[in-house]
């Protein structure tokens, strides 16, 4: 009986322990999930739209009046959207019946539109205005946008984002003078930023065929109502920053420089000199324009033998062609090989993932709107670093030699004086 009781007791305890363990396990899981969720909420990042295909150098363009018509056709700022149509295979990622379309933006509002084949502008295919590149990099379709308030319904057709993107590009081109023939009036500009019709959620709902449930909030304009997904930056703020970047020269929009830390040192056995600790700093106007992916180092010709680049642990870096951003390194120079002044000039190239804004024109047609879109490219930007060393033999004070000479001279002089004095005195006494 006693045995049975003990067994039961053990059994119950086991059960109890199992229950506690399971509870603890679930609490732990809950805690981890909560932490991850909190962490994710604190991270803000722009959501890039997936553009699997970069647009080729020529494509068919289709215009669509839906956005314009939906957007208050009687209220002065309609937008005709352009779509580049390219061939595709399968039925995934928006490919339908072997065709796929991408929104593409107009650079010349006052000109007519046409459905035709477009190709890269032969004379001037590259746009180097940093502000415009930034603007396009932070508007649809490069990033997804969303209303600042949670809404019900689907926003899959992106009509509002397209309207905002094209409208802001036109306003930017007018304000910066990049489109000198822009027919955009001050009223048009006001319409983009302040027009009453843009305030009304009802009107926005009209644009969205999917019946998104906007509220009638008169305190917000459309460009203030939409933000880059995953951030708190509204379309209006994107435009403002683009205007700030307008005067940044394209050459300095992104680049690298070599920064140094600490002092030049010599190894304990005094056989090697080490430069200051070096690293490559990314200087970019905005990460959305360009991002450093790697860098390379080239040692020049004619430097002392066995000069090499070493890492933070002073190990030789063999492959200097593909170093990760943030890598710190030293230049290591054998002391014995420095026979004359030498300037070790490092050539550093930062490899950036960046965006190129391209200009397209209608093929064999009249004077129609030019179009633009971005393309991902990889560009290298150079930097230099000089490490100058010179042999410096002992330039010690030579005073000890001079003092010895003084001393010897003085002793000899005094000896001479003593001898002369003693003999001259004796001679005088005897006389």
């Amino acid at each position: 009986m006693e045995k049975i009781y003990m067994e039961n007791n053990n059994h119950n305890r086991k059960k109890k322990i199992d229950g506690v363990s399971i509870l603890a396990f679930f609490v732990a899981i809950l805690a981890v999930v909560s932490l991850v969720a909190v962490g994710f909420n604190q991270i803000t990042f722009a959501t890039k739209t997936v553009q699997e295909n970069q647009l080729p150098d020529n494509f068919d363009v289709k215009t669509e009046t839906e956005v314009a018509n939906k957007l208050l056709s009687n209220k002065s700022f309609p937008i005709m959207m352009h779509f580049a149509e390219i061939s595709c295979e399968g039925d995934a990622n928006g490919c339908q019946a072997g065709k796929k379309t991408f929104p593409i933006y107009c650079l010349e509002r006052q000109k007519d539109t046409v459905d035709t084949k477009y190709e890269l502008n032969a004379d001037d295919s590259s746009i180097t205005d940093v502000g415009l590149i930034y603007l396009m990099a932070n508007l649809y379709p490069e990033v997804e946008m969303e209303p600042i308030e949670a809404i019900e319904g689907d926003n899959a057709d992106h009509k509002v984002e397209m309207w905002i993107s094209q409208a802001l590009i036109w306003v930017y081109l007018k304000e910066t003078g990049l489109d000198p023939t822009s027919a955009l009036s001050e009223t048009d500009k006001q319409n983009v930023f302040q027009s009453a019709f843009i305030k009304y959620g009802q009107n926005i709902n009209e644009m969205n065929s999917d019946k998104v449930g906007y509220t009638n909030d008169e305190s917000k304009y459309l460009v203030d109502y939409y933000k880059i997904k995953g951030t708190n930056m509204t379309a209006h703020q994107v435009y403002d920053k683009a205007m700030e970047l307008h005067n940044v020269p394209y050459e300095s929009a992104y680049g690298v420089s070599v920064v140094e830390d600490g002092d030049v040192t010599i190894s304990q056995d005094e056989k090697y000199y080490f430069s200051k600790k070096l690293s490559v700093l990314e200087n970019t106007s905005d990460k959305s324009i360009a991002e450093l992916k790697s860098f390379s180092i080239t040692l020049p010709e004619g430097i002392p033998d066995d000069t090499e680049i070493v890492d933070e642990q002073f190990h030789t870096i063999e492959d200097l062609s593909n170093l990760a951003p943030g890598t710190k390194f030293y230049i290591k120079v054998p002391v014995d090989s420095i026979e004359e002044a030498v300037d070790i000039k490092l050539d550093v190239v930062g490899n950036f993932d960046t965006l190129s804004a391209r200009r397209f024109s209608a093929v064999n047609e009249g004077d129609f709107q030019q179009l633009t879109t971005l393309k991902n490219v990889t560009n290298g930007r150079p930097a230099e670093y000089d490490f100058e060393l010179t042999p410096a033999p002992d330039t010690a004070s030579k005073s000890s030699m001079a003092q010895t000479m003084y001393f010897i001279g003085l002793i000899v002089l005094l000896c001479g004086v003593g001898i002369v004095y003693a003999n001259a005195k004796n001679a005088k006494v005897k006389e």
């Binding site: 030049v264 010599i266 005094e270 000199y273 430069s275 002391v335 420095i338 026979e339 004359e340 002044a341 030498v342 300037d343 230099e384 000089d386 490490f387 100058e388 060393l389 010179t390 042999p391 410096a392 033999p393 002992d394 330039t395 010690a396 004070s397 030579k398 005073s399 000890s400 030699m401 001079a402 000479m405 003084y406 010897i408 001279g409 003085l410 002793i411 000899v412 002089l413 005094l414 000896c415 001479g416 004086v417 003593g418 001898i419 002369v420 004095y421 003693a422 003999n423 001259a424 004796n426 001679a427």
Partner: protein, 217 residues
Amino acid sequence: MPKMQKSKNNIKKSHLLLLGSLLIFVGIVTFSWRYLVKLKNEVFSEMKIAMMDVDVNEEIIREVPIVENLTPEEPQQGEKQYYIDYDKYLGVLEIPKIGLKRGFYNSDSKYNNLDWNVCMVKGSALPDVVNGNLILMSHSGNGYGAYFAYLYRLNIGDEASVTYNKQRYNYKIVNIYTVPKKGVVSIVRNYSKTTLTLITCTKNDDTSQTVYIAELV
């Protein structure tokens, strides 16, 4: 006999007087040796600087007639070839604040010797090289050849100049720093400026050298 001894004593005394006089002379010469050498040195230096001012083109750079048709690659007859006369000063360093005016030789010259002259470091650039760096060194202290003995009196903003090829290049000191004496010195300068670097031992410190960086103004 006493007469002979007296005569002997006189001779001995005269010898001793002669020896004493000789020692006095040698002592004076040894005692003032540094000043004499310095005086001679300054006189010669001034002469060389004066010569350099007068005939840079005619004497430092001379025309050398070319022997005709040695090889097809040889310069054609009538072409001029130049060489630098290493026995002449290449340039003159002046630092008014410490009263220094001293010529220096080309780095390949046999006279470009730290023990005798201000020394131009091989591999350093001449003053007319844009963004180049002319590096000069000399001893400190008070012995012969210690031309940079008073560099320690210089401060940032003080002026120095180098006369080279009849052009005067004026510099202003922008940085002074000390490095351990290890036989090699790291130059810290602005590489977008033409600079003059002066190196000597740190005053009252046998273990370090002081580097003075001056930029062209």
